[in-house]
């Protein structure tokens, strides 16, 4: 470096730190001002909705999460669907006939139904789609939806050929389905996205990667125009949809927001019209500030604690199980711990299910004091006391709510009975593993979401051979009652069998029902057409946005 005075140096040479800082600052300011593109919220007919996760797939046969379902219900359309109030109606099928024995269904398909390419939707499309659903190569999660179709189970297990599935087309607009046994809720099953038709040519051309923007061909109200991985999907109206004139909203953006707090912030910042959830911590405040926007509705989902019946201390100790169940003050829990309008659960099947009135645990009507006294009595009868307290573990997966719930219940058991409970917090996958193995679990937290609006959706979980039965409950009488209900075509008789089954199961106490979930959404006052229903289905095609 020559010692030439700074001032005499040519301008070029005077680089260095200030220059660097200057250019960084400039770049930064540019980024700040950025491409101030028009905020999509100004566009009247784009609906912004939050969903709680990125759909694992938009292929109707390869998804199972509720987030995927939310998006898929906007893209595709099945034989049947729901109105905003939860009434079952025909969609791709105009009407249908059911045989006397309840096993033959004949669907008349809409003649004006179209794919987004303009081609007509035919019965063959449904045949192809159902076959793909049960094809072992597709490896679908939800082939269970159609397991009641004749031969479906065997095909999924690889024992029969695809063509043997009892779904046939009779011409372009008539679909014939034969069930293995009368399944009274079959029409409700058909509303599930796994039953939506897929476009044969697209699938054959693109295979596993057909569910992409520009490739996915849909028969529903919207098509897929963009999928920003990790961020959102954007849908645009399907001009060829048979009911397109009823669709008010042109574009829908489903934003993936796993954190309810983040979602709430975005709603408050005006970036979302509809949220998927409301965080528990903010619930009270939201209810005060925005009562008209908060929608809380009963939901077909139960929060429960299961017992491991295959091992001590709960094996063969009904009194102990009853004691633990009675010692829980469910009302206090739903008021203080969850506090979002959940209802205490005294039954297994949630309220609001079609053609059903749930049975209740006998002590549901007792006062708190009476119930606690009963609990203590049962505890002593079970062989425990203050000198010989019960020592058990509650297992639950990582979540604020579960933790609070477990702490509250631990406290209740201690106060009422003197039980010494240890809380074991596990990651979801670990808990699942343990629950299935039934070796270390004693009391575990779980929940069950009903796939369709029928009591059977809940009762079948407790069957001896049900894969999701983590308690080890196995009662022949219960099994046979549920079985008989499944084969019964007369709704009244069916309902009686199911009620008996539920009462029987509840008395046996394989589980402690704790509360029934509610669906909770914040819906902007600009959104019209929103209907609360027990399945929490909210099709975008039923909604509209009023101008600001």
């Amino acid at each position: 470096m020559k010692a030439v005075p700074y001032i005499l140096r040519p301008r070029r040479a005077r680089r260095g730190l200030p220059g660097a800082i200057g250019s960084f600052a400039l770049a930064f300011v540019c980024l700040l001002l950025g491409a101030c593109s028009a905020n999509d919220m100004d566009d009247v007919q784009t609906l912004h909705r939050g969903i709680d996760a990125e759909p694992e797939s938009l292929d109707f046969h390869k998804a199972r999460s509720t987030a995927a379902g939310d998006v898929q219900r906007d893209l595709g359309e099945g034989l049947t669907g729901y109105t905003p109030d939860g009434e079952l109606v025909g969609r791709a099928a105009e009407n249908w006939e059911i045989s006397e024995d309840g096993r033959d269904y004949r669907f008349s398909l809409r003649r004006d139904a179209r794919w987004s390419t303009g081609e007509p939707v035919t019965a063959d499309d449904f045949v192809y789609s159902f076959r793909r659903l049960v094809d072992p190569a597709t490896a679908s999660f939800y082939s269970q939806s159609v397991i009641d179709i004749e031969n479906a189970a065997a095909i999924v297990a690889g024992e029969k050929a695809l063509e043997e599935l009892a779904v046939t087309a009779n011409g372009d607009h008539e679909l014939h389905v034969r069930l293995a046994r009368p399944t009274p809720y079959f029409l409700a099953l058909l509303t599930h996205p796994s039953m939506f038709p897929v476009h044969r040519d697209s699938v054959e051309q693109h295979g596993d990667a057909h569910a992409r923007p520009g490739r996915l061909v849909t028969n529903g109200a919207y098509t897929l125009v963009a999928w920003e991985l990790g961020s959102l999907v954007e849908l645009r109206r399907n001009e060829h949809y048979w009911d397109n004139r009823s669709t008010a909203i042109d574009r829908v953006r489903h934003h993936f927001i796993p954190e309810p707090t983040v979602e709430l912030n975005r709603y408050r910042a005006g970036e979302l019209h509809i949220t998927d959830n409301v965080p528990p911590e903010a619930f009270a405040r939201v209810r005060e500030e925005r009562p008209g926007e908060l929608h809380v509705a009963p939901y077909l989902n139960i929060y429960y604690y299961g017992f491991n019946l295959t091992r001590p201390p709960f094996r063969d100790n009904l009194e102990l199980r009853r004691a633990l169940s009675m010692a829980i003050d469910r009302r206090a829990l739903t008021e203080s711990v969850t506090g979002r309008g959940e209802t205490p659960a005294w039954s297994w099947v949630p309220p609001g299910v079609d053609n059903y009135v749930e049975r209740q645990l006998p002590y549901a009507t007792l006062s708190d004091e009476e119930r606690k006294a009963e609990a203590r009595r049962a505890y002593r009868q079970a062989g425990y006391s203050d000198h010989n307290p019960l020592k058990i573990e509650i297992r639950y997966n990582t979540s604020d709510t579960h933790q609070r719930m477990a702490l509250a219940i631990q406290s209740m058991w201690r106060e009422v009975l003197g039980v010494e409970t240890t809380l074991v917090n596990e990651e979801f996958q670990v808990l699942l593993s343990n629950m299935r193995a039934k070796e270390v679990t004693q009391v575990f937290r779980s929940s069950w979401l009903g796939d369709y609006n029928d009591a059977n959706a809940f009762l079948q979980v407790m069957l001896s051979d049900a894969p999701s039965n983590m308690t080890g409950y196995s009662d022949k009488q219960f099994d046979s009652l549920v079985q008989r209900a499944a084969e019964q075509t007369d709704p009244e008789r069916r309902r009686t069998y199911m009620e008996q089954a539920e009462a029987l199961m509840l008395d046996d106490h394989p589980v402690i029902p704790i509360y029934f979930y509610v669906s909770k959404h914040l819906v902007s006052p600009r959104v019209e057409g929103w209907g609360d229903n027990v399945l929490d289905y909210h099709y975008s095609q039923h909604l509209s946005l009023s101008p600001e």
Binding site: T261, P279, E281, A282, A284, R285, A332, S336, V337, T398, D400, Q403, R404, A406, L407, A408, S411, L423, V424, N425, E426, E427, V430
Partner: protein
């Protein structure tokens, strides 16, 4: 005369005001964490659904208020501080033992062995440790013990490098040469003569790795992979406080401030000690 010399040496070792203040703060915090809970009749896990979200007050010994389940925040914070300190100290100890042993051996051995061992360190440096720690925690179910090992395993590399450097220069000193002449076996030389002389460096580094360990544990708690209920740590308390930020800001502010003060104190302490003991060590 001896008293004066000791005093001067102590003065030199303990460095300036910053060091003494930081050390003082940390001692106060530690004592509070150990003895504090006995000042209050509450414990760290009892819930009282009737007394939720109470702001800090002097009555009923609710010095820090209560949280969303009615648990006393003062006792929980003290308890959490204990856990955080424990995790940090043990984890740092793990990285210390690993780092010193490895670095001293490599430095003393010199030549090809040293080059090879340092190559391994270089290789390990490239591992995206935080991801492997996350995987580890996921794979082995957030074992309490595992947290120490996992956090310790992240930091030992720096320690190893520093120790190796120091060993290399110590190796050439007269007392080492003398020991070799007498025929003292290398293992004894390394662990009896060299390691004690590393103490200065090591102490400094410990005070710098402890805040790192605390931050890693907080991070793991943030992801839900750290200390599990009903045990708590400062990181877990802060994480919990974040979600209650609007309704009960003291749930966040108190543990966060305490955490920040502790971290700052450790940093100042480390800096000051380093300046005092070995001004040439300007690594960070």
């Amino acid at each position: 005369m001896r008293a004066l010399a000791t005093a001067v040496a102590l003065r030199q070792v303990t460095g300036g005001a910053a060091v003494r203040v930081s050390a003082g703060i940390l001692i106060v915090i530690t004592i509070a964490a150990l003895l504090g809970p006995s000042l209050s009749s509450h414990d760290y896990f009892s819930m009282n659904l009737a007394e939720r979200f109470e702001p800090p007050t002097l009555e009923n010994a609710r010095f820090f208020g209560t949280d969303d389940l009615g648990r006393d925040l003062f006792v929980r914070t003290m308890s959490g501080t204990r856990v955080t300190l424990l995790v940090a100290i043990v984890a740092s100890f793990v990285s210390l033992v690993l780092g010193v042993a490895y670095g001293a051996v490599a430095g003393y051995a010199g030549g090809k062995v040293d080059a090879f061992m340092m190559r391994i360190v270089d290789a390990l440096y490239a591992l995206p440790f935080i991801f492997l720690v996350i995987l580890l925690m996921v794979a082995f179910e957030r074992n309490f013990l595992l947290i120490f090992v996992a956090i310790g395993a992240i930091n030992w590399l720096d320690m190893a490098r520093i120790v190796r450097g120091q060993t290399l220069s110590l190796k050439e000193r007269e007392f080492v040469a003398a020991a070799r002449l007498i025929g003292v076996p290398p293992v004894v030389i390394v662990f009896r003569h060299i390691v004690p002389n590393l103490l200065g460096v090591v102490v400094v580094y410990i005070t710098l790795t402890i805040p790192q360990a605390i931050l890693v544990e907080s991070f793991l708690s943030f992801l839900g992979l750290g200390i599990q209920e009903p045990q708590t740590s400062l990181g877990a308390l802060v994480n919990g406080g974040v979600s209650q930020m609007e309704r009960a800001p003291w749930l966040l502010l108190i543990p966060a401030t305490l955490l920040a003060v502790m971290l700052m104190s450790f940093n100042f302490l480390g800096d000051g000690l380093r300046d005092a003991l070995d001004p040439r060590l300007k690594a960070r």
